[in-house]
Symmetry: C2
Subunit: 338 residues, 2 copies
Amino acid sequence: MFRVRNRTELETRNTKQINKMEKPYVIGMDMGGTNTVFGIVDARGNVISKSAIKTNTHDDVNLYINDLHVEMSKLIDAAGGIDKIKGIGVGAPNGNYYTGNIEFAPNLPWKGVIPFAKLMTEKFGVPAALTNDANAAAFGEMTYGAAHGMKNFIMITLGTGVGSGIIIDGKVVYGHDGFAGELGHVNVMRNNGRLCGCGRSGCLEAYASATGVARSAREILESSNKASLLRNIPIDSITSKDVFDAAMEGDEVGKEIFNFTGRILGEAFSDFVAFSAPEAIVLFGGLSKAGDMILNPIIENMEKNILPIWKGKVKVLFSDLKEADAAVLGASALAWEL
Amino acid sequence: MFRVRNRTELETRNTKQINKMEKPYVIGMDMGGTNTVFGIVDARGNVISKSAIKTNTHDDVNLYINDLHVEMSKLIDAAGGIDKIKGIGVGAPNGNYYTGNIEFAPNLPWKGVIPFAKLMTEKFGVPAALTNDANAAAFGEMTYGAAHGMKNFIMITLGTGVGSGIIIDGKVVYGHDGFAGELGHVNVMRNNGRLCGCGRSGCLEAYASATGVARSAREILESSNKASLLRNIPIDSITSKDVFDAAMEGDEVGKEIFNFTGRILGEAFSDFVAFSAPEAIVLFGGLSKAGDMILNPIIENMEKNILPIWKGKVKVLFSDLKEADAAVLGASALAWEL
């Protein structure tokens, strides 16, 4: 019996190895409101090929998937055909890991509930899994990035919106319904808070997103007479990039805006720490390019507001994934679990 | 080989059964700042015997454990001796599950870091595990109570302080350092918030604890001329129980205080939901006796502030464990895992 059992184990192991050799790649796909970027990724986290299509030119999700199939097939064929692909991991706004659906995404052209993972599997003939873009980023950071080896951290994505992916005990927190981790929508201003895209007031996202930063600029410029380089720009077209450029040139208003944004983030982070006691909070996305200008006020205000037991203990880090690849890598990490 | 393996398996299984028969009980112990309550619990969650000692009369933790040993031994002997006890589960303020230490507990007579689980194991000769009281309560609620069968919920204890135990995927969230789940200390009032016992300002605990409710009463009575039954009580000796009694008699100030407390809690809960998307939030402790008077404003304000995807979906429940047994049961649930 021993020998037979061992032979069976050996066969199983060999079959697994052959499978791994036969399917050495996954596809990672990052769906944004404007563009969809995808790439073929190997087991070491190398993006071996990459391409993109427009998201918002397709009113019908089936036409979108058709276009995706045409473009993705070029990469797949170059990599040796679909038999080499273990699965497809998708990061999508309002993506639900449990159901594989995209549900009521305000920034996508398709309304209601879209069974996206199912449609992808049917079209490509390989398994597909879905999560929201911030969870995918957290997955990528844990698998290949700044949080490699960490079992408890929070990923905060500072882009057009503010997203989050929460890792506890080495796993993404999905919660009861698959939608956990909406830290861009905790309240940071109970009274007279700014209106947020979600319809509520005072959300973190209304202050700490790129649009929030631009809005802070308009508010400060309109409510004061402070001299600023930003006054050279038509007030309604000021972007977070303009604020960054001004601050880099020593503009006081520009610096004040980053201090304000960092304070709001740092205060919010002190509450996040009280929830899940993470080892680190990892920042990703456009605003994180501001470097110390945003990091210093975040850390200062987080430390000022945090419970004594956590003072000086929680790291705030920038993602160290190449920004161009991070979203694709994050989504791809999901596909290895399939 | 097969036969031998099977015999070994059978023996192992029998040994396990014998162990379970030989060790049919655990001890659950709830350490409060004033009293320590403990009991012997069977596998079905019956508290078969119970006793208590004072906590705060022992300046030396070793003397406390000696007294505990004397009193607990009476129960243990009546249950058939220490061989029948699988282990001891302890719920203690600032108890750290990972280390078994009680660390810097402001409400206990012993300062610094106390290796409590180790001391208990040495004294009693059985394994001991430790967590904080709110985590123990969450454990008990999941094992025997209102959250039975739930894998994602948040326990909020409304007592002298405000504590929390967070369950995600069926497990207590301990975080990187063992101290996760301090939701009594998230900020609910950034400007001019009340000073909290933790040294910071604006914490949930400063508003929603029993002392917070009494403080709300003093603030309202001192800042207005509203008629109230509470004016019959010396203002510095008003308790949350007095506020409850007044509100039950229709007192407008009493009702206003519960509405205010419920609003603060409901607003905070809407942020907690954005973090972990729980199936339910379970309330436990003295204030939860206020029933609908506290529950209605909590639900109203949580629903008003919650992200649209969760509207009408998150239950707010009262614990259904017998209050006298809940803490002991919760701590005992920990001991079965040993």
